[in-house]
């Protein structure tokens, strides 16, 4: 009897060892990748790198200013589109959970979350690029905004659902109309959660390449025109990483470093926000 227990205990200990090993093993590739990007890319970043466009093949130097500006502009436009639409839809879903529209709309949010980003790119190509006759920053922004929507909607919906009903009641009983109750009481009270959702969605889309492949396309020059092609950080990385030129590879490493830093900072800020206001996303 005792020997049996001994064997069983040993098995349990071995199992835990295996689990711990596998669980922590996974941090290895993460650390390796992060360190490699930092090593290859951090050295590329200087003022010249940030303020100049890529140099032609054969010339050393150059930078990623067109991609930086492009990513900034497109993320901005995408946010301007997706934040109001996403928040309104999220408010509707949290306020009217039992309607038929809420069911189908919620289903569509789930579907949208699973749609591959390249499919979004294809569709926006036919919606905007073809009619306009040119690749454009606008089409890229629209594609990105579609990808932002599910995250903004779900986080708005979940944050508002956690608020106590008494908040709404107190405001309504004072003779405050419904839209003011939502906009001046409910949304401000859920601000931290909604903001976290927005930041997460931005962190997601600044790294997205596939939807931009046939929408914003790419541009070797600095551009602010919404109706012309525009470069972006991830697209630049793709183009230059897969090119045969070392100079361009270096640019891509620098860009990867910057992109990684942006994503990291956004995620850290979100974590701090959710911890400070004890929000659940």
């Amino acid at each position: 009897m005792e020997a049996r227990i001994g064997i069983r205990n040993t098995k349990s200990v071995i199992f835990k060892g295996i689990i711990v090993f596998f669980a922590f093993l996974i941090t290895l590739p993460l650390i390796i990748i992060l360190l490699y990007i930092i090593k290859q890319g951090a050295g590329q970043v200087n003022w010249h790198f940030l303020t100049n466009v890529p140099a032609p093949v054969g010339e050393a130097g150059g930078g990623i200013s067109n991609a930086l500006l492009g990513s900034f502009i497109m993320v901005l436009i995408a946010s301007v589109i997706a934040i109001p639409v996403g928040m309104m839809a999220g408010i509707y879903l949290s306020e009217n959970p039992k309607t038929k529209l809420a069911y189908y709309s919620g289903l569509c949010v789930d579907i949208l979350q699973g749609v591959p980003s390249i499919v979004v790119g294809i569709v926006v190509y036919f919606w905007i690029v073809k009619p306009l006759g040119t690749f454009s920053a606008l089409s890229g922004s629209v594609a990105l905004s579609i990808m932002m929507l599910p995250i903004v909607i779900r986080s708005t919906e979940q944050t508002l659902r956690l608020l106590p009903a008494s908040l709404k009641e107190a405001a309504l009983s004072l003779g405050v109309p419904y839209h003011r109750v939502i906009l001046k009481v409910i949304v401000p009270c859920g601000f931290a959660g909604i903001l976290s959702g927005i930041m997460l969605s931005i962190a997601r889309i600044i790294g997205e390449t596939a939807p931009l492949l046939f929408t914003a396309f790419g541009n070797p020059y600095l551009s602010t025109s919404v109706t012309k092609p525009m470069e972006s950080l991830p697209h630049l990385i793709f183009t230059y990483a897969t090119s045969p030129y070392d100079d361009w590879h270096n640019l891509a490493w620098g860009a990867s470093f910057i992109l990684l830093m942006f994503v990291l900072v956004l995620n850290i800020i979100t974590k701090l926000l959710t911890r400070k206001w004890k929000v659940q996303l």
Binding site: I19, F22, A23, T27, L107
Partner: protein, 313 residues
């Protein structure tokens, strides 16, 4: 009573305000509804566009498209089989590699060590893996992983491409670990204590409690997590495109299929979309997009349904 103004005047101001507010209330409610309807319209629009643009291809190639083995745009012959194989191979190899890791993380953070600084650290690391953009995985994979795989292939006596299905599967495996893992953590933490305590009280070891109580209880939920990881793998484009070699021919042997170059539905679209210069070509690519859309959406929805059923019980 308080303010100096004539109370009747205040009353009338208030009434006028309330009347205009009623109007805005209705407008606001309508906007909320409109935004939710917009969502449905977007999905319908995506579906409609995909179907419309792949119609030429569907009409001329029919269902045989799905098992056509040749993809040759120059001769206008299109078959999806190579890409179905590529997609399934990369996704399933990635799953097989990643699932043990996902489960280990879920069991460790859900059962052995749910709280504390080490647990938070690991949890953050997992979330970080999911946050890194796929283009960066692809870039790193191309320059670091591929040479390693090439050396490995030489050692085991296979053609040393470096790039190919195998490398893509490896990088994909790392990328999809967080999806099954996060879900698993939540589910395992949800196992009711009385269930576990009952087993411990009977003298079970930790391992036995995990094996006989926790695992059966969370089985369907963990399966849903695997489905979510699979959904993610199927739709991944950039990292795969950079590592898979972009060959549209069907491999002859299994060894070649795994260690040689290939293509997935997503990667062939990414590579050839802008080169598609005639309708047939473009339409065939869109049809691939349509298939990809259906497959990923269905897998994701099944996964989500299982989760909602599980959490509502």
């Amino acid at each position: 009573m308080f303010v100096k103004e004539n109370p009747k005047f205040v009353e009338n101001k208030r009434l006028k305000l309330s009347n205009s507010q009623l109007k805005w209330e209705t407008i606001f409610r309508r906007i909320l509804i409109a935004m939710s309807v917009l969502l449905v319209l977007i999905i319908l629009g995506v579906l409609a566009t995909l179907i419309l643009e792949s119609l030429p291809s569907i009409k001329s190639l029919g269902i045989g498209f799905l098992w056509g083995k040749v993809w040759d745009p120059v001769s206008n012959v299109y078959g999806a089989y190579p890409f179905l194989v590529g997609t399934l191979l990369t996704s399933f190899i990635a799953l097989i590699i990643s699932v043990p890791f996902s489960y280990a993380i879920a069991i460790y953070l859900g059962e052995y060590n749910p709280k504390g600084w080490l647990s938070d650290l690991l949890k953050n690391a997992i979330e970080l893996i999911a946050a890194v953009p796929s283009i960066i995985y692809g870039f790193w994979g191309l320059f670091v992983l591929v040479p390693i795989v090439r050396t490995f292939e030489m050692k085991i006596g296979v053609a040393p491409y470096g790039i190919g299905v195998f490398s893509s599967s490896l990088i994909l495996a790392v990328m999809i670990i967080p999806y099954a893992a996060s879900l698993g953590i939540t589910l395992i933490r949800m196992v009711p204590s009385p269930l576990k305590e009952g087993a411990y009280a009977l003298g079970a070891t930790r391992f036995e409690v995990i094996r006989s109580v926790i695992m059966p209880y969370t089985r369907s939920g963990l399966f849903a997590g695997v489905l979510l990881s699979l959904g993610r793998a199927l739709g991944e484009t950039m990292a795969v495109t950079m590592l898979i070699g972009n060959t549209s021919a069907v491999a002859n042997t299994i060894k070649d299929a795994i260690f040689g170059p290939g293509n997935t539905m997503a990667s062939v679209i990414a590579n050839e979309f802008t080169e598609a210069d005639h309708t047939q070509y473009l339409s065939a690519l869109i049809e691939l997009g349509l298939v990809l859309f259906f497959v990923t959406v269905i897998i994701n929805l099944i996964g989500k349904r299982i989760i909602t059923r599980f959490t509502n019980e």
